[in-house]
């Protein structure tokens, strides 16, 4: 018994010794990594690799702009379209107030987010004024609401309204709801007017617009993919943003009204930082509405 134990012990020591000392190892470099790809041992990895500056300069196609005042070269930036100013007023609130002002029966004026902001700011100014004794005046700025009301009262055509609003937006004197901003940086007055009609119909007891039948055959930029899930097949709908699209327009295209824009926005948050940041060529997921 004791002899067996000692023999096993000695055997274990010998095996350990072989593992540690590796007397039969030839000292070769490992010629492949774990996947068997040969490792080139003569490649030196260094950060100080000399770069051909002239070649780099030629490669840059965009002309570099030098700032005349500072003499510094400005890095080329991705060119973004100029966008109208936006505020967080909801288009439905704004439309509601337009209808109330035009005397639609049953439509009560609501306080828009922009009005709330203005009111709280004037409260703060009153506080500062009470403390410092200096009079400060809150700048009066034109509202989209007022422009639309004036234009509708004057009986302007749709084209004329489009011109008036876009001129004001380009001049930066008016802020518009985010979902009216189009991929080419204009204000989507078509959606604005369409929504006034829709909300007026609902206010006078009409039915809310139905969800239209959309298919790739009647809608440019639309795609339908069938996705196989564990239990069933799901139809995933995609839409590639076209020139002149606003999020409001896409919502009307797929859901009949602007009120579902948030569903689209939520589903595409990874792509859209805010509803007005819509760009031509973006591929948006169009979710199904929960029944």
């Amino acid at each position: 018994m004791i002899r067996t134990t000692v023999a096993l012990f000695l055997f274990a020591i010998v095996v350990c010794g072989l593992i540690i000392l590796r007397p039969f190892s030839s000292g070769e470099e490992v010629a492949g990594d774990r996947l068997g790809t040969p490792i080139e041992t003569d490649v030196e990895v260094t950060r100080a690799a000399p770069t051909d500056l002239a070649a780099l300069a030629e490669a840059a196609t965009a002309p570099l702009v030098t700032n005349a005042a500072t003499g510094l070269v400005e890095a080329p930036r991705r060119i973004d379209v100029a966008r109208p100013n936006t505020d967080d007023t909801r288009l439905s609130d704004m439309t509601n107030n337009v209808l109330a002002e035009l005397g639609f029966a049953g439509v009560e004026t609501v306080t828009t987010n922009s009005q709330t902001q203005r009111r709280s700011t004037s409260d703060i100014l009153a506080g500062i004024e009470a403390a410092t004794g200096h009079r400060s005046v809150l700048e009066e700025s034109e509202t989209l609401e007022a422009i639309v009301i004036a234009a509708l009262r004057a009986g302007e055509t749709d084209e004329r309204i489009d011109t008036i609003i876009n001129e004001a937006a380009a001049a930066g004197t008016v802020a518009v709801p985010e979902i009216l901003v189009t991929s080419d940086g204009r204000v989507d007055t078509h959606v604005l007017l369409n929504n006034i009609v829709t909300q007026a119909q609902i206010a006078s007891g009409g039915a809310a617009p139905t969800v239209p039948e959309v298919s790739p055959d009647n809608t440019a930029g639309m795609e339908v993919r069938v996705v196989q899930r564990a239990t069933d097949e799901v139809e995933a709908r995609f839409y590639t943003v076209q020139n002149g699209d606003s999020l409001g327009a896409i919502s009307i295209k797929f859901f009949g009204s602007i009120q579902h824009y948030e569903t689209i926005f939520e589903a595409n948050k990874g792509l859209l930082s805010s509803p007005d940041r819509i760009r031509v060529g973006q591929r948006l997921v169009i979710p199904q509405l929960d029944a």
């Binding site: 100013n85 505020d87 967080d88 922009s114 902001q117 203005r118 709280s120 700011t121 004037s122 409260d123 703060i124 100014l125 009153a126 506080g127 500062i128 004024e129 009470a130 403390a131 410092t132 004794g133 200096h134 400060s136 005046v137 809150l138 700048e139 700025s141 802020a175």
Partner: protein
């Protein structure tokens, strides 16, 4: 004999009760400052047995959003404690060169604020507020063309919020710096209303004007 000692002890107790037991510092019993001709006096609660009650006694607000703030919130923005706040109120606010700002929401401000503070809720200083420049102008910024503001004449601002757990004041400071407000004109009272209440300093109950 016994009677006389008792009388002496009684007299001593009476005088001790009359003098102010709880001062701000050894040489300062109160702080008086003026804000646009309105005079404020800050003292400490004279009840040596007083403890904190209600809102100011809370220790464990959920984080996020109520997370502990660093001593220095931004480069160049100095941090205040209670004494520096009083000095700021006595010198800058009284002299009309500074303003003490409560960066909390109007609802929080209405529950009690530091005397002399003006409520400017932090969201109104964000770039999203279309009327922010109007606020900055009221604080002394001047238009210099190209949509830019000149802050050389702007007031020094000391900001506070709920306490060391509140990011309202640090966020307001961040917004002001982003708007171009010079860091050396900004001060952060990290302790906020909670630290103020914790040492029994006067708290005013006031509503926002308007």
């Amino acid at each position: 004999m016994n009677h006389r000692i008792l009388m002496a002890a009684f007299c001593f107790m009476a005088t001790a009760g009359n003098a102010q037991d709880v001062r701000i510092t050894t040489f300062k019993s109160d702080s008086t400052f003026a804000l646009n001709d309105q005079t404020f006096t800050v003292t400490r609660n004279q009840d040596t047995q007083a403890t904190l009650g209600s809102e100011y006694a809370l220790t464990s607000r959920a984080c996020p959003p109520h997370c502990l703030q660093p001593l220095i919130v931004a480069d160049g923005v100095a941090t205040f404690a209670e004494l520096e706040v009083l000095t700021f109120l006595e010198e800058h606010v009284t002299g009309g060169t500074g303003l003490f700002i409560d960066a909390r929401s109007p609802a929080d401000y209405a529950t009690g604020s530091i005397p002399g503070a003006v409520n400017v809720p932090f969201p109104t200083l964000a770039a999203e507020n279309r009327y922010r420049d109007d606020i900055l102008r009221a604080l002394g910024a001047v238009d210099k063309g190209d949509d830019a503001l000149d802050f050389t004449q702007a007031m020094a601002l000391a900001l506070y919020s709920g306490g060391p757990w509140s990011d309202d004041a640090p966020t307001a400071i961040e917004h002001l710096l982003a708007a171009g407000y010079p860091a050396e004109k900004l001060f952060y009272f990290r302790g906020g209303i909670q630290a103020w209440a914790h040492v029994g300093l006067t708290i005013q109950h006031s509503q926002n004007p308007g």
